[in-house]
């Protein structure tokens, strides 16, 4: 409970009746109606599409029968989780999924930062806009189209890259069907497709840096690299940490669309990830309990990782963590 004081024009103080928390919130809402109305839209979205469906997470613990519905289906305890963890390819799926997630972070994140800094540092507006547009463009292509592009680049018989290899006297490589080459195709094609889009958030952070810092550094004789090292990177560090933490939270999402389009039987051992397994085992075989259990497993696993990482970041560098 707080006491609401107001000073009038003639200098006297008026003390209003103490406000309860509820009363204060009501008054806040009334005062900033438009802001709260704006908040309402995402709030409704989250309630409908993110919180209400949590009710259905109980399917993970049931032998789901569509006719009986969520409530009518029989409880099976942790059977679905057990089926997943004891499945023949579990460890391979986990290994591949984590490998692609971490690999994408290791490759894509630095490239996005470098691209953002390069665009920010570019002094020619036309060139900057052209590079920016070209870098964003692949993000808007579906993986179906990307597969077509990759096939024309990487096909063993007549792909551009294999033509070059042949020209230099080498032996063509079946990039899409070789267990050694396939992971690189996944990581590099993802970086190519998403690098420009991921750079946006870093460009936005760069725009927020006080320009006078750069001016002062230039006066002090700092070169470009020193300006990046001592001003740019430290300034966007909180954003880098936030992006990293968010990516850790979805570490078991290795990119279903991409893998599903690119993989084939000879590379299953290095390509099959949890999501493609769920597609085949859960969705195509009508095992929705199993599919939900895996979804829940991924969510909880990701949340734990994110909380731990956030705590570590908070300990190492106070103020850089998300919460």
């Amino acid at each position: 409970m707080t006491i609401d004081k107001k000073t009038t024009k003639n200098g006297s103080t008026v003390v209003n009746a103490p406000l309860t928390q509820k009363g204060r919130l009501g008054r806040e809402i009334k005062r900033h109606t438009s802001v709260y109305l704006l908040l309402l839209i995402p709030l409704i979205y989250y309630i409908i599409f993110k919180y209400v469906p949590i009710w259905n997470a109980q399917i993970a613990f049931k032998d789901f029968q569509a006719r009986k519905g969520v409530l009518g289906s029989a409880w099976v305890g942790l059977q679905n989780f057990s089926d997943f963890i004891n499945s023949f390819y579990f460890w391979e799926l986990l290994r591949n999924t984590v490998f692609y997630s971490i690999g994408k972070i290791i490759i894509s994140l630095p490239l996005s930062i470098i691209l953002a800094i390069a665009i920010y540092e570019c002094t020619r507006p036309v060139l900057r806009k052209i590079v920016q547009t070209l870098a964003y463009l692949p993000h808007f292509l579906s993986w179906v189209i990307m597969y077509g592009i990759l096939l024309s680049l990487l096909a063993p018989a007549d792909g551009v890259l294999n033509d070059l290899i042949r020209l230099m006297g080498g032996t063509p490589i079946d990039f899409l069907s070789s267990v050694n080459a396939f992971p690189w195709v996944v990581l590099v094609s993802d970086a190519w497709k998403e690098m420009g889009w991921s750079a946006i958030i870093f460009i936005a952070a760069l725009m927020g840096i006080d320009v006078s810092l750069f001016e002062a550094a230039m006066v002090e004789g700092a070169n470009s690299w020193q300006r990046i090292k001592y001003i740019t990177l430290p300034a966007i560090r909180p954003v880098i940490v936030t992006v990293l933490l968010l990516k850790i939270g979805t570490i078991l999402d290795a990119g279903f669309d991409q893998i599903y389009m690119l993989y084939s039987q000879p590379v299953y051992s290095v390509a099959d990830i949890i999501d493609t397994w769920v597609y085949r085992q859960g969705l195509l075989q009508f095992q929705f309990g199993l599919a939900t259990a895996v979804g829940l497993f991924k969510g909880v696993f990701g949340m734990i990782l994110m909380l731990v990482s956030n705590k570590l970041v908070s300990r190492m560098n106070e103020g850089s963590s998300i919460f």
Binding site: A66, L151, Q265
Partner: protein, 523 residues
């Protein structure tokens, strides 16, 4: 005042209960009321690359006026896996449409979940349609545990694929049509290394294929390799021959076939893109003259629109359909074939709402002369004309003809009415002359392909399917052997079979054998 409030409240409660009941009654009795009954249909589009049926399609008005049905049509995705996911997701939400096309393995899942209605009693409501479409085999296709769960209408024409060889390449190199596996190897070698098109570039291969695998008939490496597997008597996932009933992979001949195919791949005689090609890439490749031997479907090869790019690229090019290639033990089969059906199921929800009879009425009308011509070819004079033999043809109707770019969308439901009658085949596959002056007919090609030696695998579509991990192991291992990742030796092959048995392959095989025996599928 208080009394008045109580009275009003009671009235409101009464009214709400009455309206609630009324709504429920309306829902369940709608089939018998004067209001049009809404029937939601999910269909498989006949021309997947064309758009959906336009809203101004005259069929909507006809079924509303004649059958009192408000028809709602939705096209399923063209990809079969996507179709399965769409239907199963709707099933999981207990939100299946009233009538929908479904593949048999998915139908079995839905039956187990109680989501589809048994249809045994409904054939009598569709006497004409049943007579032309639903024979004993069709009914057996959708019978599970003694009850019938869907209407299986004839699908694609069976044995409609063949082994095709570039005759002009053979002539250029002075070669004969291959008849045995070793002659085939020699031809493939010449096509790969002897510049059969004479362009001076090393840009051709002997055999062209892509992976077209499944858990029903194709198995792995799939139907595009059937001519090679057929030389060893092992095309298809299952063998229904009583002497070796079961999965073909267990037969020694399958190992021999794998060795033969691997040797062709290792020698570079198969287009190296075979593992990366999707169907469209493969079809673009033969039209670009990349390989000289392949297995292709009659219409995909000889249909006017499909043949045109090849004809434009190679005015002097010529493909011929050849006999099955004979293997070392004398086997020679183009491939294995099952009966093709398109299954339409009624959801239990629709049956509960009393719509099943109305659905039968709709299907029977679709098979009437009026419905058949409308769904199959469109409107007479607009989308088709009848020729002197009474066969629908495009005439001079241009783009609006049933085969034209604008008119074809009006025939998207034709798979619900076609049953491979002579009229359909003559209409679908007319004889035409190409730009370069060749006379072509997909019907003649079809008949030629059907005349070759095929091995029956009737019932493949009904056989039990394994756990996804078991099938992955099966596919992956065979792919690794063929691509050379794993050396194809008797020891490695036995190790593969041992592990396959261990993770569920043996149980799958035994379940399949038992099913085939119980259902009289073995011969």
């Amino acid at each position: 005042m208080k009394k008045l409030l109580v009275a009003l409240l009671a009235l409101a409660l009464l009214a709400s209960s009455v309206f609630a009941n009324g709504a429920a009654e309306k829902s369940s009795a709608s089939a018998s009321s004067d209001e049009p009954v809404t029937i939601e249909v999910w269909y498989g589009a006949a021309i997947t690359e064309a758009g959906p049926i336009p809203e101004d399609w005259v069929g909507y008005d006809i079924v509303r006026e004649k059958l009192n049905i408000n028809l709602e049509l939705t096209a399923l995705p063209s990809n079969e896996n996507d179709q399965d996911v769409r239907i199963q997701a709707a099933g999981a939400a207990n939100d299946l449409p009233d009538l929908f096309m479904v593949r048999r393995p998915v139908l079995a899942n839905l039956v187990a979940q109680g989501l589809v209605a048994p249809v045994d009693d409904y054939y009598a409501l569709m006497p004409h349609r049943t007579e032309i479409m639903y024979d004993e085999n069709a009914i057996r296709m959708t019978t599970i545990d003694g009850e019938n769960w869907g209407f299986a209408s004839p699908g694609a024409v069976v044995r409609n694929e063949g082994i095709l060889v570039r005759k002009d390449w053979l002539d250029n190199l002075g070669l004969e049509v291959p008849t045995t596996t070793e002659e085939l190897r020699a031809v493939l070698r010449a096509f790969t290394f002897d510049d059969p098109d004479g362009n001076g570039r090393d840009d051709t291969w002997g055999y062209g294929a892509f992976v077209e695998s499944d858990m029903n008939i194709n198995g792995y490496p799939g139907s595009r390799f059937f001519p090679l597997l057929g030389a060893f008597d092992v095309p298809g996932l299952w063998s229904f021959d009583s002497d070796h009933l079961g999965l073909n992979v267990y037969r020694p001949e399958f190992y021999d076939a794998m060795v033969y195919i691997r040797s062709l791949i290792a020698e570079g005689l198969v287009d190296p893109n075979w593992l990366s090609y999707r169907k469209d890439d493969f079809r673009a490749a033969w039209k670009q003259g990349r390989f000289g031997v392949m297995k292709e479907q009659n219409a995909a090869f000889a249909g006017e629109a499909n043949y045109a790019p090849f004809d434009a690229n190679f005015p002097d090019g010529e493909w011929i359909v050849i006999d099955a290639i004979e293997g070392p033990e004398g086997y020679a089969e183009v491939g294995a074939y099952d009966q093709n059906y398109r299954i339409f199921a009624i959801s239990q929800k629709a049956a509960d709402e009393g719509k099943a009879e109305k659905i039968c009425e709709l299907l029977e009308w679709m098979s009437s002369d009026e419905g058949y011509l409308l769904c199959g070819w469109g409107v007479e004079g607009v989308n088709y004309v009848l020729d002197e033999n009474g066969i629908p043809s495009a005439g001079d109707l241009g783009d609006m003809a049933f085969s034209g770019t604008q008119g074809q969308v009006y025939t998207q439901l034709r798979n619900m009415v076609f049953y491979n009658s002579d009229t359909e085949l003559a209409s679908r596959y007319p004889t035409y002359v190409t730009e370069s002056g060749k006379t072509m007919s997909a019907l003649t090609t079809l008949r030629e392909m059907q005349s070759k030696n095929w091995i029956p695998a009737i019932g493949s579509g009904m056989m039990p399917t394994p756990n996804a991990d078991v099938f992955r192991y099966f596919e992956q291992s065979l792919a690794e052997f063929l691509s050379g990742q794993r050396e194809l030796t008797p020891e490695n092959w036995q190790a593969f079979l041992d592990q396959f048995n261990k993770i569920g392959g043996q149980a799958w095989n035994e379940a399949g054998i038992a099913y085939a025996q119980e259902n009289g599928l073995a011969y």
